[in-house]
Symmetry: C2
Subunit: 428 residues, 2 copies
């Protein structure tokens, strides 16, 4: 395998599983990422709601790969792909490759309303999570100091846009914060008067789940004092309100805190390779891949995870979840190793859906395991086990367990810090 | 005690011990802080060097005080004291008081060279610590990508200015990072070639310690590959170098990372009350207090901790450490409670020096317990016990213990994250 250089862009679930597979086989591989850490995104909402610290769900990429001498980590920003000369273009140089795996993931999108981002932060990075945490905690602080009842009400109104797993988990955690964690913390306000509104454009929350589980999840979040508004379209977001359209009727809700858990948009690298190879881009900016995850005419370029649209198996794109990315990363790495050994091209990629899990507040969850659908605390135990198992480092597993155990017993959250270079004034 | 309102500015060691004492006695007390958390500053260097997460050493003030209904927390910036009208002036309002405890602490000072701050960050807040961590980790990343040997050398040169406990602890931790933690992490550089220089203007490191312990500490840091330069004055710091003057001779050392652990300057609130009361300010901006910690002519105003210069006992100001602030906070709170009960004014403040501890890298420390002076791992065990005991919340004690245990066994550090809104380019 000497001399063959693999480059991987992105150290998320897809890129990490690919680089580990290749490194274990002794292949010369370079992992390029803007961040020095792999982030366990499914638990990012717990950082945003003060339950965990960022480091508990982030593992330094160099640390993960330190034992594999053929693997190299490059902290750099990939700005494009020079398909013809086979190199990844960085903001300050380039990396040559013989095989390339694109796993740069996605960020939020505001469906043409980029001006909403300022008022409705999303949740993709550690910085997003500490920013969201700051916004949530500062809203309670501002309410405590506000004397005008209407303004105070707006500070105590939280609107979560998008009721996929992240939105549902955020709403549930906010319910717990308001009714449990902060109950005795204030003197002028009663945090239990907090209004939490979960807005979803589809007809039910967790729209990709079976209707029975969606309904169960809705009952669970409502028990946590969350108001669910389905079939509701956001038409406007500004500094002090959100406007919803429900069956043709518009309502404006005064609020100072809007959390965005709706659309995602693939990394702009997808566009770069699509233009060079003639592959199609979908509405989420994902590049359409071949059955073997490569790009048309470019068997040396794989696109995986949130960056790729793979529709052969089910007729529509695979879900943008960790297991899709992991399975595709392993597939791409294996395909490269096979070629290097001179073996025949492997079979088309096949996604094995292990099911879906979403946690909804304290000790409740919904689990769609395909062969069985459960909700309540048995689902939560499965959720707990699966998440702990997939956290990358043993130490983090222990730290997360200690904090969850403590939170479960005391209803307290360990990481309720307001940080940021300018934590005041409260007026954001 | 009805109707008597106490205001406390600052939720550090001094303010927190005072507010707890007053709250337990049922006194109406308002704690004003810019931050929502009490920070365990003695371990801040462990956040800066990736051993702990910020939340492990920070406890929400509201959480600490939630059970005391007569205590109130105000997240606000105190900008001055209106001594005549007895109110604390905030950036957005004011708080009236009958008794006031000033415990606003200190920040860094650059001895008239404020332009150094950009190149030589200090360590006082959570943001300072994550910024310093980012600088340290990015320096290694930049060295890995740098091909020019001289420039690479500058990236791998770390200069710590000031060899008090923080400087010594930082230097020792950097030695461990370079020679242990990161040993297998890079491919182009050998982190063991890192140069760590600890600069001190006095004749020895830990100048406030007995000479025997200073010498022991110096041997310990040198074992961690730290170069000690005592009697060395910093005359210039810029983007790419530090200039030292040693016995009249100037040397310029190329470096990209300078960490500031030298001077402190009391909060500007000290000046505000000094001007209003005629109390003297010292060179560190501290206000000179009376034997009972009050200001001349103002028995209702106490100044404690890093904000106060109390020189009656030893002829020079008490050290700016946690135990000074804690004892003064308790004294001030007790004095207020006595007055409210109509009891006679208490005796002058008396500082009981329990001794000093500084940890120097892995399992070594120096301890000056007054009646005995020890160094090495027995001192480290004492250091460990005392620090764990003083961490405010039980959960944090457990989390810190787990991480220290893990670090001790694996030589790994749990929180090596590069965070910040713009983590790249490497050029800072």
């Amino acid at each position: 395998m000497d001399g063959h250089r693999v480059a991987i862009v992105g150290g998320g679930f897809g890129g990490l599983s690919a680089v580990l597979k290749l490194a274990r086989a002794g292949v010369d591989v370079t992992l390029i990422d803007r961040r020095n850490h792999h982030l366990f995104q499914p638990l990012l909402y717990q950082v945003a709601t003060g339950a965990l610290s960022p480091a508990n769900i982030a593992s330094p990429l160099r640390n993960i790969l330190r034992r594999y001498r053929s693997a190299r980590v490059l902290l750099a920003e990939a700005t494009g792909i020079d398909v013809k000369n086979r190199r990844v273009v960085l903001s300050d140089g380039y990396v040559e490759y013989d095989s390339l795996i694109l796993a740069a993931g996605s960020s939020h999108q505001y469906f043409g309303h980029d001006e909403w981002e300022r008022f409705a932060p999303g949740l993709k990075t550690v910085e997003d999570a500490t920013h969201m945490r700051r916004r949530i905690l500062l809203a309670f602080e501002a309410a405590e100091r506000e004397t005008d009842p209407e303004k105070r009400r707006a500070w105590l109104t939280f609107i979560i846009v998008g009721a996929g797993p992240t939105g549902v988990e955020l709403a549930g955690a906010l319910g717990e914060i308001a009714h449990d964690t902060l109950r005795c913390d204030f003197r002028s306000i009663d945090p239990r008067s907090t209004q939490i509104i979960l807005v979803e454009a589809a007809g039910s929350i967790l729209p990709s789940y079976p209707p029975k589980l969606s309904a169960a999840a809705q009952r669970m979040v409502e028990r946590l004092h969350v108001t669910v508004r389905t079939s509701a379209l956001v038409t406007k977001i500004d500094e002090s309100s959100v406007t919803l359209r429900e069956s043709g009727h518009e309502t404006t809700i005064p609020t100072r805190t809007v959390l965005w858990a709706a659309g995602v948009l693939a990394s702009p690298l997808a566009r770069s390779v699509a233009e060079a190879t003639g592959a199609a881009l979908d509405k989420q900016g994902r590049v359409t891949v071949q059955p073997d995850l490569t790009l048309p005419g470019h068997p040396e370029i794989f696109a995986i995870g949130d960056l790729a649209n793979f529709s052969y198996q089910t007729g529509h794109p695979l879900p943008g979840v960790a297991q899709t990315a992991i399975q595709q990363g392993v597939y791409a790495a294996r395909a490269i190793i096979r070629r290097l050994k001179g073996q025949r091209t492997s079979r088309p990629f096949h996604y094995f859906d292990k099911g879906n899990l979403a946690s909804v507040g304290r000790a409740t969850a919904v689990a769609d395991l395909r062969w069985v659908r459960i909700s309540g605390w048995p689902a939560w135990l499965i959720w707990l086990f699966v998440h702990l198992m997939y956290i990358v480092q043993f130490r983090n597993r222990v730290l997360v367990m200690v904090q969850w155990g403590y939170m479960y017993l005391t209803h307290d959250r360990s990481a309720r810090l307001i940080t940021g270079d300018d934590p005041l004034p409260l007026d954001l």
